[in-house]
């Protein structure tokens, strides 16, 4: 999982391109493609792409825990869901509905949930961590599901998309294309930020916890505190994904707080490649594409999770490094 020093590749003109330059070129090209996409794609596929990016952001946030800290979280549905309901609360109470307030409320909700989950579940390790995060996310599900007066219970909350505003600069209707660009900007920003975090001294400590927790503790790092901060950071990005999903679809529903959403995030991670940040986005894309493909070929009623679940198990057993890890190893050969 540790990034290996990559050999400099020679271009035809014998000009060496360093790995850093190669990364920024690749990043720029993909970003440009994503920015141009809504201008050329039909509405259905544009929406599809926007949602892949949002799911990718959720998966990427949980990669900070799974891939870099070695903690498999089954509690991300709580952070995602609190992000959704936080956005809903802001959009239903503020007049006129304000986008930035929605993000603020959503992040605050997700951070609160993350602090609660982190405080208790970081006392445990490995599988125990996975199980307790799952149970704790269910606490939020039960509360949201049963507190009908506040959350709309089973039906959830419905609202309208706010206008897209940047104070003193922009005030326009939030069209799907603008939504797409907004998501692209936030996901790309989150990616760069997470990449920076994982390469910072803080990120190095997280990776050292993953490799050998006892030794990290012996060196003198307050492991619990690092873990709590890691869960909270991860929860914030998951909350942002929740806000974006809510704004994109104009509703908040309890189904997304159920732990199956956390399971999806884990599946995207494993399919794309844990510990790569970009991998989970690829995983989300591949998963959604396969799902769309299956339901187009076999009809809407087709239980697409049966073949996809099989693909997932096969990947856990035979390709544990995921698609991106596999491709990377194959390219380096």
């Amino acid at each position: 999982m540790t990034p290996l020093p990559q050999p400099h590749r020679k271009t035809p003109g014998n000009v060496a391109i360093g790995p850093a330059a190669a990364f920024w070129i690749g990043f720029g090209v993909i970003l440009a493609l994503l920015v141009v996409a809504p201008l050329v794609l039909p509405p259905f596929w544009r929406r599809f792409l926007t949602e892949i990016l949002i799911w990718g952001l959720l998966a990427m946030s949980s990669d900070l825990l799974i891939g870099y800290t070695g903690m498999v979280s089954f509690g991300h549905s709580a952070f995602f869901g609190l992000g959704m309901y936080g956005a809903a609360a802001a959009l239903l109470t503020s007049d006129p509905p304000n986008l930035w307030l929605a993000i603020l409320y959503g992040l605050a909700g997700a951070a609160g949930a993350a602090l609660f989950v982190a405080y208790f579940s970081t006392r445990l390790r490995d599988i125990y961590f996975a199980i307790t995060t799952l149970i704790f996310s269910q606490i939020f599900y039960v509360i949201i599901f049963t507190w009908t007066a506040m959350t709309g219970g089973e039906n959830g909350l419905i609202f309208t998309r706010p206008r897209f505003t940047i104070p003193f600069l922009v005030d326009m209707r939030f069209t799907p294309a603008v939504m797409h660009w907004f998501v692209v900007a936030l996901v790309a920003g989150s990616y760069l930020l997470l990449r920076r975090i994982t390469r910072s001294p803080f990120g190095m400590v997280l990776q050292s916890i993953r490799e050998n927790e006892a030794r990290t503790r012996a060196i003198g790092y307050p492991v619990e505190r690092y873990k709590i901060v890691a869960v909270m950071l991860s929860g914030l990005f998951a909350g942002l994904a929740g806000v974006l999903y809510a704004v994109q679809n104009e509703f908040a529903a309890p189904d997304f707080v159920f732990f199956i959403t956390s399971g999806d995030a884990v599946i995207f991670n494993v399919m794309g490649g844990i510990g790569t940040l970009a991998g989970p986005i690829v995983g989300a894309g591949v998963f959604q594409l396969l799902r769309e493909l299956l339901s187009r070929v076999f009809g809407d009623q087709f239980p697409y999770l049966i073949p996809l679940g099989m693909v997932f198990i096969v990947m856990v057993i035979f390709v544990p490094q995921g698609l991106l890890g596999f491709a990377r190893r194959w390219l380096n050969r």
Binding site: I131, I306, G309
Partner: protein, 297 residues
């Protein structure tokens, strides 16, 4: 003072006794589910996310056999046997390749399995809940209501299965193999115990326990494709509260949690009563993170 008095009066003694019996009945079913989960975890280091789906699969097997033969007890035995076979196959295909790898990978594999099974059940049987008729229809008078004997029978039967299972683990040859494998897998192998098959057998046993509890529960709550979710979540709470890998601990914790929920549902709806078991879990994690009855390794 008035508040406390009102609170006590809102729960008459009869109601508390009825809820105690209800709590013990659900607690025994839960203990059966959780003991399978604990067994698989304690011996194989596998957290079986698909345990609830094995429970559900058992219940559906029961539905099918009951529809064919009309005999509940035959349905119970057949379901346990078929799901045990299925569990063995599942272990060989998905878990055996993961032996020796990080236990976290087994969470992923069993999670995938649970998704597949749940969607298979939805696809095969549809979203409508099915029901099995109670094999014992007689009732007895308990204060103001007619209490079905079947519920009492379920509690006794669950206790009997767990007891038989304990004796089996303690005295049979296979049971001794299982315990040897738990203590030291490598040494057991060196002594000629077929460890891979012991692991397969353990998973099959756990699956059979889950299936049996599924069939026993079917007349009480109906059979539907997501029925396993509630149970596996509760079983996880029980296993954490009772101490991972401790069979006795999970049985005590199962009854304890179910009683708590039964009492709580005197005042709030059953859906909200679940929160009480969450609170029990939080308190356990705060004061005894290894669980109440954890055996030191």
């Amino acid at each position: 003072m008035d508040l406390i008095l009102g609170f006590v009066q809102s729960a008459p003694v009869e109601l508390i006794i009825v809820q105690t019996i209800n709590g013990i009945v659900t607690g025994m079913i839960l203990a059966l589910v959780a003991s399978g989960l604990t067994l698989i975890f304690g011996i194989m280091d596998v957290v079986n996310f698909a345990h609830g789906e094995l429970f559900m699969l058992g219940a559906y097997c029961g539905v099918v056999v009951f529809a064919l033969t009309g005999n509940f007890w035959l349905a119970l035995l057949t379901a346990a046997f078929l799901v045990a076979l299925f569990g063995a196959a599942l272990q060989i295909v998905t878990l055996r390749p993961l032996v020796g790898r990080d236990p976290l990978t087994t969470i992923l594999a069993t999670f995938g399995t649970s998704l597949i099974l749940q969607n298979y059940a939805l696809w095969q049987f549809g979203p409508v809940s099915r029901k099995i008729g109670e094999p014992i229809t007689s009732q007895f008078t308990l204060f103001y209501l007619q209490y079905p004997w079947y519920r009492i029978a379920v509690a006794l039967l669950s206790a009997a299965i767990i007891g038989a299972f304990y004796l089996f683990l303690k005295h049979s040859k296979f049971g001794i193999w299982i315990r040897a494998t738990t203590q030291d897998r490598l040494m057991a192998q060196a002594m000629g115990i077929p460890v891979p098959w012991v692991l397969t057998g353990v998973f099959a046993f756990g699956a059979a326990l889950a299936a049996a509890s599924g069939v026993l529960f079917a007349p009480l709550g109906g059979v539907y494709h997501t029925m396993g979710l509630d149970w596996v979540l509760k079983a996880f709470i029980v296993v954490v509260v009772g101490g991972m890998g401790s069979l006795g601990g999970s049985i005590v914790a199962a009854i304890f949690i179910s009683l708590l929920e039964a009492y709580a549902s005197i005042w709030v709806s059953p859906a909200q009563a679940v929160i009480v078991s969450f609170v029990a879990l939080i308190l356990t994690l705060l004061f005894r993170p290894t669980g109440l009855f954890a055996t030191p390794k």
